[in-house]
């Protein structure tokens, strides 16, 4: 694993490359947007930890405000890291399958307010059995598929049946409904509102049907970064699962109120007449299915090839770049990038202010 840690107080030119940097001013500005948006709303932000994987940074958003003092995670192992980091309210947004993982979940639920998503009866029944054996209570939310074709119930009736079962099972506490959604490509504000509301309404339809059957629904967790300002305007939504907004990434640049705060600092290690070679390649940047990163502030540079440990950039026009020069690389998918690194280097006004371990890095669920 990476062992490099620069001195706190070092200037940015002393940081060895490639390194994953967070511009603290920009990240805090992103956190401020959330704090202001949710300052007077019943609905609050539940920041998604899968993008950051570091409790100390997630705490920063909780301190700045706008949240319900909890986070969501994608898996049990991530939830454990959050609880160990002092965050007491965690929603796991995936189904948890297999006895080992369910036991870890049940034990974690004895230590903190941990809840999990479900979408089928078999999974719910096994969660109940494990929780009974361990003597804990697990909160559950029904995942509703609104548009993505992933996990989640497909019909309102499935949701009602599942809620009824959850209500009847020992060691299970039925809490509500949850959904994910996304919009493709560039989305203007009007599109975000129309699409965001359409998806969230599908989730709310399940909530209403469950309530019509006499079952209380206390949590409606819906909305993401693209709909962070849509969800609080919709009655019934209690929390939003935003993650991307913290560091941002290329495809969501259309949300101009948020700034790209997470970048990879890289060095030019070779130049030709028309090309620049940098010391960051696929292993540290990622390039899922050929989607390449961009280079900040240099519209005349584009990624030509990505190799394991270096990338070749093509220069449009005269090549002004020199060996030793540093560049900032902006990723196409922030959480894939973050998962490849062992630490963040927090920089403010060109000076290293913090180094954080990405303690929930890893593959296991």
């Amino acid at each position: 694993m990476q062992s490099y840690r620069p001195n706190l107080g070092a200037t940015i030119d002393l940081i060895e490359t490639p390194s994953l940097l967070i511009d603290l001013n920009l990240m805090e500005s992103n956190f401020d947007v959330i704090s202001k948006t949710y300052s007077n709303t019943l609905c609050k932000m539940r920041q998604h930890a899968k993008n950051i994987k570091c409790p100390d940074i997630l705490w920063r958003q909780i301190e700045i405000g706008g949240t319900l003092n909890g986070v969501c995670t994608a898996k049990v192992s991530e939830a454990e890291v959050m609880v160990e980091g002092g965050i007491r309210d965690v929603l796991i947004t995936s189904e948890i399958v297999g006895e080992d993982k369910q036991r870890r979940l049940a034990y974690l639920a004895k230590r903190a307010d941990v809840k999990v998503c479900i979408d089928n009866k078999a999974n719910l029944n096994s969660l109940s059995l494990v929780a009974q054996e361990i003597g804990s209570e697990i909160g559950v939310l029904i995942e509703v598929d609104t548009s993505m074709g992933r996990a989640g119930i497909r019909t309102v009736e499935q949701g009602v049946d599942l809620a009824k079962l959850a209500e009847s099972l020992n060691s299970i506490k039925f809490l509500g409904v949850m959904s994910h959604q996304t919009v493709d490509g560039f989305a203007d504000k009007e599109t975000r509102f129309i699409e965001g509301k359409r998806y969230i309404d599908k989730c709310l339809a399940v909530k209403t049907a469950i309530e019509d059957n006499g079952i209380e629904v206390t949590i409606v967790s819906s909305g993401e970064t693209f709909s962070y300002d849509v969800a609080p305007q919709i009655e019934g939504v209690t929390e939003v699962e935003g993650g991307t907004y913290a560091l941002m990434s290329g495809p969501t640049k259309y949300m101009e109120e948020f700034s790209l705060a997470g970048k990879v600092l890289t060095t030019v290690i070779d130049v030709t007449e028309i090309e620049v070679v940098i010391d960051a390649g696929l292993r540290c940047l990622g390039g899922p299915l050929g989607v390449t990163p961009t280079i900040e502030g240099h519209d005349n540079l584009a990624v030509k090839e990505m190799h394991d440990s270096y990338s070749v950039l093509k220069v449009e026009g005269v090549n002004p770049f020199e060996i030793g020069q540093t560049l900032f690389i902006c990723t196409s998918q922030q959480d894939i990038l973050v998962n490849r690194w062992d630490n963040f280097i927090g920089v403010r006004d060109g000076v290293v202010e913090a180094v954080w371990d990405i303690s929930a890095r890893g593959c296991h669920h």
Partner: protein, 351 residues
């Protein structure tokens, strides 16, 4: 870091905490021996690119536990990681650009013999304060498949002269990178031409190295010029060997929301799709439709088969190197059982 629930040796590989990276140790060793046999009647040596997997435990098999055998890595930080694990003869692809990397190289040459690939005067000048028998340089020669390297023969000659006359490090020879089997013969031609030019000016390249793909390794066997002293390759231990892949990721079905669709706990954070979507090994009529950061989405024809929650799915990565880099541990499997767990010692050593 990884937090799998540990399983004892002898546990069935499909019952490991998922997603988990598996390497079939028997097939791995068989591939390593096969690759060595390609070159056994030649004077050319096979130099493993151990940066591909980053695991000292696998690299030791590749070098027959000979720590003096040459190995190839991508970065200085990888070289440090392997030097700390006893490897003493390391070739590094990336030149040490920047003060921090030069200092890092100074530390490294105290513990291992290091050979650096360089392409220009700026790279060479970064080595000017070294005075060490433990440091050697190779000049990188471009070819049609790879634009990086010393631009002209004349420039190459000047760099070699400069190094030989004014630097206190060794000049070892030349290296070129052949990207794909189609470019292999072209690469031979370019490096031999550079060698001849230097020879005509009384400079002898002791080493002529080709960094090449796995496919090229087999092809090289048939057409290898006798002057080539080393072939560098990374993926050969993991080449498909029979029905089961040498390297795979085991995952679990988490949801079956619709007939013909299954949702698994292996997404882009557990298997790289940087160079393609993985294939399903143990359910041949099932394909990976897409992968999100955390999950994979499988589709299959319900007339032929079905998948249920809890079923185990073996996936073969489209690219091994990118996937090894995601895991802290590799589960070595023998006869479907866990044989041992080894560390991906150089994971994340990007610098």
């Amino acid at each position: 870091m990884e937090r799998p629930t540990s399983k004892p040796t002898g546990h069935h590989h499909l019952e490991l905490d998922t997603p988990a990276l598996l390497v079939n140790s028997k097939l791995l060793k068989s591939n390593i021996e096969n690759a060595k046999s390609y070159l056994k009647d030649t004077s050319c040596k096979l130099i493993p690119n151990i940066g591909t997997h980053g695991a000292a435990g696998i690299a030791r098999y590749q070098t027959n536990f000979d720590h003096e055998a040459p190995v190839f890595v991508d970065t200085l930080q990888q070289a440090h990681s392997f030097a700390n694990n006893g490897f003493k003869n390391i070739i590094i692809e990336s030149p040490p650009v920047g003060t921090g990397k030069v200092e890092s190289l100074h530390r490294l040459v105290n513990t291992a013999h290091v050979t650096i690939s360089i392409s220009n005067l700026a790279h060479l000048n970064m080595l000017k304060h070294f005075s060490s028998e433990n440091l050697s340089a190779l000049f990188r020669i471009p070819n049609k498949s790879d634009s990086i390297g010393v631009g002209t023969h004349q420039t190459l000659l000047e760099l070699v002269k400069l190094l030989e006359e004014h630097f206190e490090i060794n000049w070892k020879g030349l290296i070129t990178v052949s990207k794909g089997s189609d470019s292999l013969e072209e690469s031979f031609k370019e490096i031999l031409s550079a060698k001849s030019f230097l020879q005509s000016h009384s400079f002898t390249s002791n080493e002529l190295l080709i960094n090449t793909s796995n496919q090229s390794l087999k092809k090289a066997h048939a057409n290898l010029p006798s002057e080539i002293t080393g072939l560098i390759s990374g993926n050969y231990p993991f080449e498909i060997n029979g029905y089961f892949p040498v390297c795979s990721v085991v995952s679990t079905v988490m949801s079956t929301p619709e007939p013909g669709r299954a949702y698994i706990d292996c997404g882009q954070k557990a298997i790289s799709i940087d160079r393609g979507v993985p294939s399903v090994v143990n359910y041949p009529n099932t394909v990976v439709e897409k992968m999100s950061a955390e999950h994979g989405y499988l589709v299959f024809d319900t007339a032929e088969m079905n998948l249920e929650i809890g079923d185990k799915i073996l996936l073969r990565p489209a690219n091994y190197s990118d996937t090894f880099n995601l895991y802290d541990f590799i589960n070595l499997i023998k006869n479907d059982r866990l044989e041992s767990v080894i560390e991906t010692t150089a994971r994340g050593t990007f610098k």
